[in-house]
């Protein structure tokens, strides 16, 4: 295995760690806002690490840029939906701590 492959493995494992943490948070955190926090961290950092790892395997500059574009779009969509869900929960419940609790 080359140095690039090792870098891919390292980033991939780091990405998997953030996804695992995010999933754990989603399942265990007490209310909607904490869970959103956990979920978006998984999206941002987990996917970011995976993409960074895959960048070492990209054949061309164009392929690498496409990977970065995927990450940017996922970031944009993830943070916006997080905001939309949070805003909806806030306006519905009227207080930050009530929304979404079971």
């Amino acid at each position: 295995m080359s140095a690039a492959d090792w870098a891919t493995v390292a980033f991939g494992v780091a990405g998997a760690f953030f996804f695992l943490g995010g999933t754990l948070g989603l399942l265990r955190f007490p209310d909607l806002f904490c869970r959103l926090h956990a979920l978006t961290k998984a999206d941002n950092l987990g996917l970011g690490c995976l993409i960074a790892g895959l960048l070492f395997q990209a054949d061309s500059l164009a392929a690498g840029l496409k990977l970065l574009l995927i990450w940017a779009l996922a970031l944009l969509a993830g943070s916006s939906t997080c905001y939309a869900i949070g805003r909806h929960a806030l306006t519905r419940s009227g207080s930050a701590r009530k929304g979404g609790g079971r």
Partner: protein, 337 residues
């Protein structure tokens, strides 16, 4: 196939069955809708694993994306209607009395029907697999004719050239579905003013940023169909989704067009496909048989028309059902007052 591949496939297959079961058995309709979307995404992954990226793209876009939006939008209208119905009974604050998902009625008959249908399908499926011809059926014949098809991607060659008939009728099926919705809920909601449905800078900005990108991707996928997975359906769905996003964010999204223009947009792809097919007849060719030297150009014309019509149809699905849901909720609200 590697061990990791087999393990992944087994996990995926189990996951799909589990998601399907949860979508059917979830106590809340809202949960069922979410599970259905997850099911669609897992199915798309399965198609990709089976080497059918064309189907995977369509499944992700239609099965998970578009149907998910329609389901959740219907549920939202449904729970709005229910809230106003229940509001006078004690809860005077107007706050929601129950979970917005709505508890679904339990039905043993539905469950039995689902299981029976599943068993019947499995039997038919096994019988079909047993009768599968050796050597891939018509694959060799299709491969041999690729040079005359006008495109390089075999799936596009089969869909738009060798079996153009099927695709033409598929576009017709979409049109029929649209007519069904017209009959059921009426032609409503097409014309409307710009109204900031969500009075929100971020949603507004996001829509303005995403929609041009979606139009670009839609065109790219349409063009890509010539040589790679892609084509009219996938492209049309993305374009339609851009329209739906605009509507949700409160933009007009063709709301200034009169209803006859909408109708033209809905029929356009089907009609042009038919015209191209009939135009081949006087020249002594079969229905939908393109001249071999210009087949690529004809396919591009037909695909572009179909993509536009598919986008219009999917947007019209959403517009009609959304308007009907809103009307329903308003009627409930009036009754409650």
């Amino acid at each position: 196939m590697t061990t990791v591949g087999i393990l992944f496939d087994l996990l995926l297959a189990t996951f799909i069955v589990l998601l399907a079961w949860r979508a059917l058995a979830a106590a809340m309709l809202y949960q069922a809708a979410i599970f259905f979307i997850a099911f669609g995404l897992a199915m798309a992954l399965a198609w990709a694993r089976m080497g059918a990226p064309d189907v995977a793209l369509a499944e992700a876009a239609i099965g998970a994306g578009l149907l998910g939006v329609l389901l959740i939008d219907s549920l939202a209208a449904f729970s709005r209607g229910r809230q106003s119905r229940e509001a006078p009974k004690g809860n005077m604050t107007g706050a929601p009395t129950a979970d917005p998902g709505g508890r679904r009625p339990k039905s043993r008959a539905a469950l039995a029907t689902a299981v029976a249908a599943g068993v019947a399908f499995t039997v038919v499926w096994i019988a079909a697999v047993a009768r599968m011809p050796d050597g891939g059926g018509l694959t060799a014949a299709a491969d041999a004719s690729m040079a005359d098809s006008g495109v390089e991607h075999p799936v596009t060659a089969v869909l738009l050239n060798f079996r153009g008939y099927d695709t033409w009728l598929e576009v017709g099926v979409l049109l029929l579905a649209m007519l069904g919705i017209f009959c059921a809920v009426g032609r409503t909601g097409f014309e409307r003013e710009r109204r900031p449905a969500v009075n929100d800078l971020l949603i507004d900005w996001l829509t303005r940023a995403l929609v041009p990108l979606m139009v670009l991707v839609s065109g790219y996928i349409l063009w890509l169909g010539k040589s790679d997975p892609g084509g009219a359906f996938q492209s049309g769905v993305i374009l339609g989704a851009a329209g739906i996003l605009l509507r949700i964010a409160g933009f007009r999204a063709f709301g200034h067009l009169p209803v006859w223009a909408w109708k033209t947009g809905l029929v356009f792809g089907f009609a042009l496909f038919l015209a191209v097919g009939v135009a081949a007849l006087p020249a002594g060719r079969a229905f939908l048989e393109y001249p071999a030297e210009s087949a690529g150009a004809w396919i591009l014309v037909v695909e572009t028309a179909c993509a536009l019509s598919i986008a219009f149809t999917l947007l019209a699905f959403f517009v009609c059902l959304n308007a009907a849901g809103e009307r329903e909720a308003e009627a409930q609200h009036r009754n409650a007052d």
